[in-house]
Every structure is written in C-alpha cells, then in structure tokens.
Amino acid sequence: MNGSALKAWWRKHPFISQVVTYLAPFALLPLVHRNPYHLDVLTGVGIYAILALGLNVIVGTAGLLHLGYAAFFAIGAYSYALLNIHADCPFWLGLPASGVAAMALGTLIAVPSIRVRGDYLAITTLGFGEIVRITVNNLDEWTGGPNGLLGIDRPSLPMHGPDGWTLRSFSVDPLPYYYLVLAMTAAIAYLLFRLSDSKIGRALTAIREDELAAGCMGVPVLRTKITAFALGSFIAGLAGAVYASKQTIISPDSFDFVLSVLILAMVVLGGMGNIWGAALGAFVLGVLPEVLREFAAYRMLLFGLIMILMMIFRPQGILGGQLIRRELRPVRREVSDGAAEVKGASKSYGGVAPLKNMDLVIHAGEIVSLIGPNGAGKTSFFNCVTGLARIDAGRIAFDGGRVRLDGLAPERILRAGVARTFQNLRIFRNMTVLENVAIGYHSRTRSGLLDAILRTRRHRVEEMKTLRESLELLGWIGLNEQANEIAGCLSYGDQKRLEIARALACGPRLLLLDEPVAGMNPTEKSAISAVIRRIRDRGISVFLIEHDMKVVMPLSDRVVVMDDGRKIAEGPPDKVQCDPRVIAAYLGEPGDA
C-alpha cells in the first residue's frame, strides 16, 4: 500500500484511526517507561475503562441510570473464578463464559425491570446490585463468603523466554496484563463505535431522547433497552474475568455500591454517551488517587464533590455528547395506499370518557380532517388509533380489514402502516436532522445488534439505503440543507416539517398529523398545506387534527367533526361548515375556530 492509499484508507475508517491515535501512546509507553508500578496502575485504569465503556452503553447511550453495575463485574469475576477452581477452565475460555454469565443475569434482571421509568429504574438496579452482593456474601460454600475465593489462575500465552517460545502463564510482571487490557479496551471501544454508528445506536439514542416518540416511529423500545442492558452487562462480565485472573483473589467487598458509583462518576465526568469520554473519565478518576496519594483520606470526599460540581456546571461532562455524521446523495422510493375503518370506539378513564362510540372511515388516498372544540377527544382518538391508549370497546381495522389495530403496541401499529406526528413536537432534539429521519427506517430494516457490531453485509447495505433514502426524503420536504444540523437548533416550522419527514420515513400508508400548522405563520402554513397535498399525491392517506379552518377547508376531501367524544357531523368542508350541529358545538362561529 502506498502513502496516499494508506491515507485514503485511514480516512475511510474513522473508528480505527481514532482508536489507534488515542491508544497508540499507551501502547508505546512501556518502550520508554518500564516502571512496573506505573504500568500496574494503568492496567487498573484499563479495567475501569472497560467497565466505563460498558456502563456508557446503558447510561450514556440508552439513558438508563444503572446503580448496580458492580454486580455484573462481580458475576464475571466469580464465574471465571468458579469455573477455574472447580473445572480447571483456562482463562481464554473463562473470559467469554464470564461475559455470557453476566449478560444472562443482566437480561434476566432487565426483562422485568426495564419498564420501570427513570429514577425508579436507578433504584431498582441498585436493589438488584445489593441483592447480588449480599447473596455472594452469604453463599459461603460456593463463594467462600466474606473471605472470597483464592488461587485463581492467570491466563497463559505463548511467550518468548530463556528456552524459546513456550506456553507460559502471566506472572507478576505487569506487562502482559497491561497489553491484554489495552487490547481489550481498544477492541471494545472500536466495536462500540461501530454500534453507535448503526441502526441500533441510533435507536438507543432516540429512546434516550424521547421514548414515546421512538416507539411511535417503530423502534421496539423494550427490546432495544434490554439489548443495551445485556451488552453492558456482557462487557462488565469480561472485565470481571480479567480482574479475577489478575488479582487471583476476589471477595465481595470489591464489588460494592461505591464501585458502581465510581464507574458512574467516570461516565458522567467524561461525558455521558461519549465513548472516549468514558475512557477519559476512567483515566482521570483512576490516576487521580495515585497522584493525590497524601490526600488518600479525602479521595471519596473529592469524588462526591466532583459529581456535584460536574452536574451543576457541566452536566454534559468534559467531552460532551458525541455525534457521528454522514453525508449522502438521493434515490427514489415508492409507497402504496391505505384505508382505515373505526367502529364504535369507546374509551373512558374512570368517570371521564374522551371517546363514546366513535365511528370513522378513511378511504385510500384521502385527506380527512378531524375538527372539534377543545376537549372533544381528538387527540385521545389519535392516541387510540396509534396504540398509545387502548380502546375499551369497538374495533379499529386497517388495510381493508386485514389488520386489527386495537390492542397492538405502537411499534406494531407503525409496522402495519400507520405513522403519526405529535401536537407538541416530539423530535429527538439532540440527534441530527438526518438521524431523526433515519429512525423511521428502523422498523423497515432487519439487521440487529450483531450485524451492527460485526458490520455484516446486510447491515452495510441497509444502512446505506436508510441514509440515502432519508436524505432524499429531506430533500423532498425541503430540509436537505439542514441534514447534518442538530434537530433542536432548527426553527419551529422546520422542526414541524422534520417530524412529518420522520413519520414518512416509516413508510406509512396512513399518516396521522396532530395539529401540523399550530403556531406557524401564514407562509409556513401554506407551505405545510402543500406538503400535505404532496403526501396524498404519493398515495398516502392523511388524517389530521387541525383548528385552523383556513387550512382545513381548502385542504380536506372530507371533514369530521367531534364533540364530547362523538362524531357529530361529517362531509365535504363546505357542507360541514353550514351544519347547525357544528355551529352549535363551536358556539355559532363557523369557519373561525
């Protein structure tokens, strides 16, 4: 390979080049500075870095606060120790086994608890962490109780010694461990970069940004969260096996709440969601105690203080969030028709009934507007159609009666071909415009976690298609200039457009728009009206809630009027406008609600 080809290759593989650039100094360090003590400290930092990278997947990328992470580290360490002591299992077999054991427990815990929201999930994980630690402490005959396990074997590798190349065990010499941990850190960082720049990474970020909207855009929220949890636990398990083999002795004390918080502090310090941030946090908090030896007593005091100050003055951490952007060119796409029928839909919350026996038909390729006074039940109706709420009675049929939407989860409904936007914008504010749209393709592509990490052909092809089509869609709606901007920085009107583009990316046959022009100026309003007509022209049925009659009347093929949970009128816009029941519902002001 000549120089320019190498340069091109280097640019084409940004993750490899980053990993090499940042970790090369550490790889070269032992050549110039062979202080065993310093190398040992850095090995410890490396184990912290692996843990921080793993926790970052859960806390940073997926936004699930985990306060029991040390438990999975413990499971990894004890798995290898037990396998090694009782079954004489070698390290290289024990390493993946420990990862799998930790992942199994992680999944087992995640499945019931992942529905728990936010701060409650944090306490749930803390509770599980404590249960694991106390259990390990109490199961004396297996784990040695508080005294722990000792005599754990170190890994063996072919090494060059006095009698040439032989298979030898790692000794007290810190160098082999140093390189083992460095290689693992590099590999894990690289694979996590791949993950973050993939469909799964994007889905996780979308969940962190707005779980409900992510679900409505076809991301299987629970499954994706469990995946993140399992992956993070797997990495902790690997770190545990390395730790156990390095120490050769383990006891429950090493895996307490303080460790969970320490690793969390590393992730927070570096910048939640940032891969290098997690590694940097591990480096800072791992090396700091060594630098401040004489202040050892103040160490934990300092940790507390750092966490408080970081949260107040720089909650995004030292390096802040991380974005991976791609720029691409357009391609064509097609969408087919969609029709829906709602019969006798009813919904009540205790004494309040937002829907009372609601009937509605939407024909293929139609624009139907739903109007009615505030509190008439319009948004509740939308929520029932899109699966955010369940109807108590009646049925919602789609696709000529072939699919029943009532009772399905939001992501299933989306896959059936019904997408929506929200009354109060729910875009993923901290993702780019392009990434927002790309989320819409989640349900239409098939590659999974392993595809994403291993970069299989399927993933590459799908990802290329997703990003190209997303860009094409942005061009279609007039946002291609802003494709690489952060969505939260767009103007209000553009954010509304983006939300429509994101819904279109899901490939719907029926699109539900909840007040698409609310809060817009007249120019923006007519632009959105034009967009809605063009959506219909693509063969997608449109069902919208809107208060602005100047928009509704010229745009709609049919208008449905709701009041008090019922349909009170239906027909062409001009007829409905004169209907006495409608006038009564709006207190005598037709055409100007």
Partner: protein
C-alpha cells in the same frame, strides 16, 4: 407455658422489635416522601442526614457531660434532640441551596446523580471529622425492661414509640393546619399553580428540606440510643431501607411513608426471626425491587401516566 403460648410470645416479640425499627424507618421515609412530593427528587443524601443526626446526638452527649459532669437524663435527651434536629435542618437547607437549587428544571437523572455526590461527600466528611471507627454511644437512659407474658419491652422501645408517635401526629397537624404546611401541600399538588397563588416554591422547598432533615435527625438520635453505637456507614443502608418504606407506602404520601416504614420494619423483624437474619437485607431489597416493578405507586400513592 405451652408451645402455642411460646410461639405466640415469640411472634409478639418479633412484632414489637419490628415495630421499633419500623418507626425509625418511617421517620426517615417521611423526608424522602416529602421532598419527592415537592420536587420529584429521590434525595439520595437523605440517609446521610439521618447518620449525621445520630452523630450530632452523640456530640451533644459528649458536650453536656464534659460541661456538666453527670447531667440528668431529661436534660441530656433535650440536648441531643435540639442539637441533632437543628444541625440536620440547617444541613438539609444548605444541601438544597448549594446542590439542588442550581439544578431545578434539569433532568431527573442529573439531580439524582448530584444527590449521590452529596451522599458521598457527607459520608466522608463525617468520617474525616469523627474518625472511621464505630463510636459507642454512652447510656443516656437506664436500661429498664418489662416482661409481660414472655414478651419483653424495653424503656428504649417505649421511648421510640412515644417520640415517633409525637413526631408523626405533630407533622400531620403541621401539614394540615398551618399556613406553611398548606403551602407545602399546594406545591406538592401543582408547583406552578401554587406559585401563581403567591406561594414561593423556593421557600416551600427550603422548608420541606428542613422539616424532612429534622425528622431524619430524630430518627438518627433514636437509632444511636437504641443500638448504642454509630458508624458513618449507617446512613446508606438505613437510607435505602427508608426509601423502600417510602416507595412501599406510596412515594409522595405522608401517611404512606408512616405505614410503609412500620410494615417494612415488621416484615424485616419477622423475616429475621423466622427465616434468617443473614438474609433479612435481601428480603428488604427484594421487596423494594418488587414494589418498584409491580406497583410503583405503592400502597397509597397515585400512578401518573405520561401525557401526550
């Protein structure tokens, strides 16, 4: 005594022991629940305030005996009460002002992480001030106990019962009848609406922190006297248990915290007495996890779905 009588006496004994510790949990749980009610923050540092209360009570004993020689028990009790309650209330106020107020309006998880930071800070500050070894608490009350039908009740247990009952009745009156208490309830219901009615949320939050910390201090004082020793580690476990109690009863609900604390104590007492004391913390944490997963609204709380 017949076997049945012995069994009944054992049960009664475990119930009384459980009730005693449960009342202490309830006193701490009240602080969690009141703070959560007003600003939806799990104040992780609350357990450390409880621990600080125990240390301040001990400090009061040291100071009073150094100053007066052998003061009467009632004077000692009043001194302990005053120092720990005032000290903790001020600490609570300071924590709120320095650590939580700048974060008003930021994501819940940010505030939760901050509170973990505060917890570490307080724990280690106390360790540095008082030393890392367990401190024994001198006997303030004479060790007396009465035996009724094979069940023994100590003077300490009666004191805990009397003091915590007084605190809870007092709190209930305060929250229902006083102007400040009503403002707290209004803020817990809807902070925005309360502020439009001329109630200052800042003042309410400050009062809530002071009140909650004061109650935790009372819990800390009783805890120190009951166990005869204090350690800087005590806040973590007691804090988590009290949080469990608050969630169990329904976080945000004051009577919920009282009921949750008492039930948790009794549950733990029975688990320790009939199953295994080694595993009693696992039972408590298991309960915590189950409540959070299956009924996060607790016994008395209300469940609020996300609004679209």
């Amino acid at each position: 005594m017949s076997d049945a009588q012995v069994a009944a006496a054992l049960l009664a004994q475990q119930l009384i022991n459980g009730l005693t510790i449960g009342l202490v949990y309830a006193l701490i749980a009240l602080g969690y629940t009141m703070v959560y009610g007003v600003i939806q923050l799990i104040n992780f540092a609350h357990g450390e305030v409880f621990m600080l209360g125990a240390y301040l009570a001990l400090t009061a004993v040291w100071l009073l005996t150094a100053w007066l020689g052998a003061p009467p028990a009632i004077l000692l009790l009043c001194g302990m009460f005053a120092l720990s309650v005032v000290g903790c209330a001020l600490t609570g106020r300071l924590i709120e002002r320095v650590a939580y107020r700048p974060l008003r309006g930021s994501p819940k998880l940010t505030a939760l992480i901050t509170s973990i930071g505060v917890s570490f800070f307080l724990q280690n500050a106390v360790m540095l001030l008082y030393g890392s070894r367990e401190q024994s608490v001198p006997e303030v009350l004479p060790m007396v106990s009465w035996e009724v039908g094979g069940v023994s009740v100590s003077g300490m247990q009666l004191l805990i019962l009397a003091v915590s009952a007084a605190m809870m009745v007092g709190l209930d009156r305060f929250v229902r009848r006083t102007r400040t208490g009503k403002a707290m309830r209004a803020c817990a219901e809807n902070t925005e609406a309360a502020s439009l009615m001329g109630i200052s949320p800042d003042a309410v939050i400050r009062n809530t922190f002071m009140l909650g910390s004061g109650l935790a201090a009372v819990g800390g004082m009783l805890f120190a006297m009951n166990y005869g020793s204090v350690s800087f580690h005590d806040g973590y476990l007691a804090g988590l248990k009290a949080f469990t109690a608050a969630v169990f009863g329904g976080i945000g609900s004051i009577p919920g915290a009282m009921i949750g604390g008492i039930l948790l104590g009794v549950f733990e007492g029975l688990a320790a007495g009939y199953l295994s004391s080694e595993w009693k913390d696992v039972f408590a944490f298991g309960l915590l996890v189950c409540v959070l997963i299956f009924r996060p609204s607790g016994i008395l709380g209300e469940n609020l779905p996300e609004k679209v």
